[in-house]
Amino acid sequence: MSDVSHEGVHRHPAPTGFIRKYIFSLDHKVIGIQYILLALAAVLVGMTMSLLMRLKLSWPDHKFALLGTLFKAGAPDGVMNPEFYLSLVTMHGTIMVFFVLTTAPQGGFGNYFLPIQIGAEDMAFPTLNMMSFWVTFIGFVVILAAIFFSGAESTVGPIGGWTGYAPLSALGAIAGPGQGMGMNLWIISIAIFCVGSLLGALNFITTLLNMRTKGMSLMRMPLTCWAWFTTAVLALLSFPVLLGGGILLLLDRLAGTSFFIPGGLYVSGVLSGTNPNFPLHTGGSPILWQHLFWFFGHPEVYIAILPGMGATSHILATFARKPVFGYRAMVFAIFAIGLLGFFVWGHHMFISGMSPYSAIAFSVLTLSIGVPSAVKTFNWIGTLWGARIRFTTAMLFAIGFVSLFVSGGITGLILGQSSLDLAMHDTYIVPAHFHLVMGVASIFGMFAAIYFWFPKMFGRYLDERIGKIHFWVTFVGVYCIFVPMHVMGLVGMPRRYSQFTEYGFLNKLHPLVLFVSISAIITITVQLLFYFNLVWSLFKGAKAPDNAWEATTLEWSTSTPPPHDNFAGVLPTVYHGPYEFAVPGAPNDFVMQTDAEVEVSSNGHNGHH
């Protein structure tokens, strides 16, 4: 029995070899950093692709010599052709959604901080955790392979968008450049990614339910933990559906089945069944793919943003020096958003020919997400209300998150109404909406998180001066990029077109397109400053104490960086809620969760002390 009880505290001794310590590590902290590095690499690829897209949209006929050399067929003489542009759209979306927005917030920060914040010495299943990262990594390698094996340098991947709509995604090479091997690799990569995410989600949920330390009741968990938990539940229930859809799609392509391919299809001048490259298909349902995809796809947007919400709540409270306004309401709002997220996938399919009655149901459910979202927003504002705010870079990004969440979310109420969406579908207002809310807001949540937790992870602060330049240029930049896109959408500019020179009514928008591109170039350049800050501060940044921000939660009660088992063999005992700031009568303006001796009682539910 003795081996068993020991096992609870030192489940695996600190490894000494380089490979076990940094490569195939079982330590959730190392795995978290691996995920963050993966996302930092992936976002460079995704960002480069968006840059190329902006170049094409603004200067459609300009000859980019480098592109001409790299992609002889896709960009002859350096002028990108429409298929090349479409493959950029596809790969930008896929890489950003899966390998950045899903990996960094959950796999990265969640892995690193969830066990520490609940007082556990590691995840429940460290080996599964390691596998989850490496499976995800293989998925990334496969999606990169799609860039290089899409055929004759004509595209950088499939051309059907990150949603991979059938039947074009189900047909094979006949559906266009990049739709052959490129599409196969795309599906395989996503399937692998699903498996990795599922292993991660399984670990998060079990860890949170089973590994909390003494005194860490559910309602004493930091809101970050609630967010990661809900995100894991969403991933657990939605990724299998995408996996199932992916298997069906792959069978349609490789085994000749007809799950998604209808009969009598005529593609690229060839009728189904008259050509060995296009075997006979009958009776499949392309809409079925949309249902399966969006049943995953909508929860996926919450998978991207919920961890950002958690980090924002956490950071706002810390730098407002006030408890989170309405902690319980925040917890229930996270749950409500997650739950409702499973019943609104139809709002992506209003123009698929669905019954207007279903459309109304999906509309009403979609708009109802506005309620918990508003609860969160008002509670964030309530947390800031009357506070003596410490404007650190982390705080600025957290406030930026709230701003972007509101600006991006508000158009969700417009697009969520089927009658309006019928007109606005596939115009620029859609990418404007989702980039602001699920893209940039989530990224701001992660920026806030990295500026906030970097001192705990590496013992040094990120440079605040560079940080503030980074924040302000990025904050203004993303508004300059995405607000004009709303206008373009209302004028009727369609998504996914590589150039608009042939559409007279859009000519007047060209200065706006140019403005967006220049804003994008500036914003992207400033991100390089962020990368520089990461590397520079790692070695030269100001040294941080164990509790770098005078914060309250468990990660700040252990040493920096945390030891292999997080708490050096003695698991902490928790006596307080997570956000005990400005408690009257307490010696400091913050009471750490582990402070036993504080003789204080407060209701803690509001900031009015």
């Binding site: 029995m1 068993v4 009880s5 096992e7 429940a124 299943f125 599922l198 989600a201 399984l202 670990n203 079990t206 339910l209 089973n210 590994m211 909390r212 003494k214 005194g215 860490m216 009741s217 559910l218 004493r220 657990l236 229930l237 939605s238 990724f239 299998p240 559906v241 199932g244 298997i247 085994a255 089945t257 007809s258 209808p262 009969g263 009958t282 009776g283 499949g284 349902s285 079925l288 249902h291 399966l292 319980r328 928790v574 006596y575 307080h576 809620g577 997570p578 956000y579 005990e580 408690v583 009257p584 009568g585 036993a596 504080v598 003789e599 204080v600 009682s601 407060s602 209701n603 803690g604």
Partner: protein, 222 residues
């Protein structure tokens, strides 16, 4: 608002709950009393298994909904005749659940020999089930019915194969538990091993029930 400074050493805090002082790790606290477990986290195997099954359940839910939608679309659906050997499959996997339960009881009673014997029988039944499924595939192939022949056969091969892959995973887990019990010298069963065995059993029963469900879906629905 209702804040006060007290002179007595009361430890009370606000955010999150009425409980005062350490109030226990959620999973170990049931009906208000502390469970004394030698391994505080042995439960993680059971919890982890249920969580994993939720996700496997979602995979088959997705495939089932595709089945139902596809059956209603197209009009090219041709029902395949049920290969009779599937009845044998069904019987085999049902019996395997029973033998696994007997094996588990032996473990609880600390009869390790009985435990590993019944475990062995369960594994053989599981293997026989997979063989029987393979036979069903052969029977269909002899009739000229393949994966791409028509939607019903596509789903038949897909669902049986997906189930078989998952059952194969269960078989590997059983082999793992069996080798542990066969070559273990310990006289008493640790709660951790008990929990791991429980988790594998939960998985196996789930696969059993899943097969019954798939069988009904494939041949009795419509």
């Amino acid at each position: 608002m209702a804040t006060m400074v007290t002179t007595k050493p009361v430890i009370k805090s606000g955010t999150g709950g009425k409980a005062s002082g350490p109030n226990g790790n959620g999973s170990k606290r049931r009906n208000g009393r502390e469970f004394l477990e030698p391994d505080p986290h042995a439960n993680r195997y059971r919890i982890g298994m249920w969580v994993a099954l939720a996700s496997i359940g979602m995979l088959f839910t997705a495939l089932s909904s595709a089945y139902v939608v596809r059956a209603g679309a197209g009009g090219d659906w041709v029902d395949i005749r049920m290969p009779r050997v599937l009845l044998l499959s069904t019987a085999l996997i049902l019996v395997s659940s029973v033998t696994l339960e007997v094996s588990k009881r032996n473990l609880k009673a600390s009869s390790l020999v009985g435990h590993s014997r019944w475990l062995m029988l369960t594994m053989l039944l599981g293997l026989a089930f997979l063989g029987s499924q393979l036979l069903a595939w052969k029977q269909l192939a002899q009739q000229g019915i393949y994966l791409a022949s028509n939607p019903h056969s596509s789903f038949f091969y897909l669902l049986t194969a997906t189930h078989a892959v998952h059952l194969g995973g269960g078989l590997l887990a059983l082999i793992f538990v069996w080798t542990r019990s066969r070559f273990s010298t310990a006289l008493k069963v640790s709660p951790r091993r008990q929990a791991a065995t429980d988790a594998v059993a939960i998985y196996w029963h789930f696969m059993d029930a899943l097969w019954i469900y798939l069988f009904l879906l494939l041949f009795l629905w419509r």
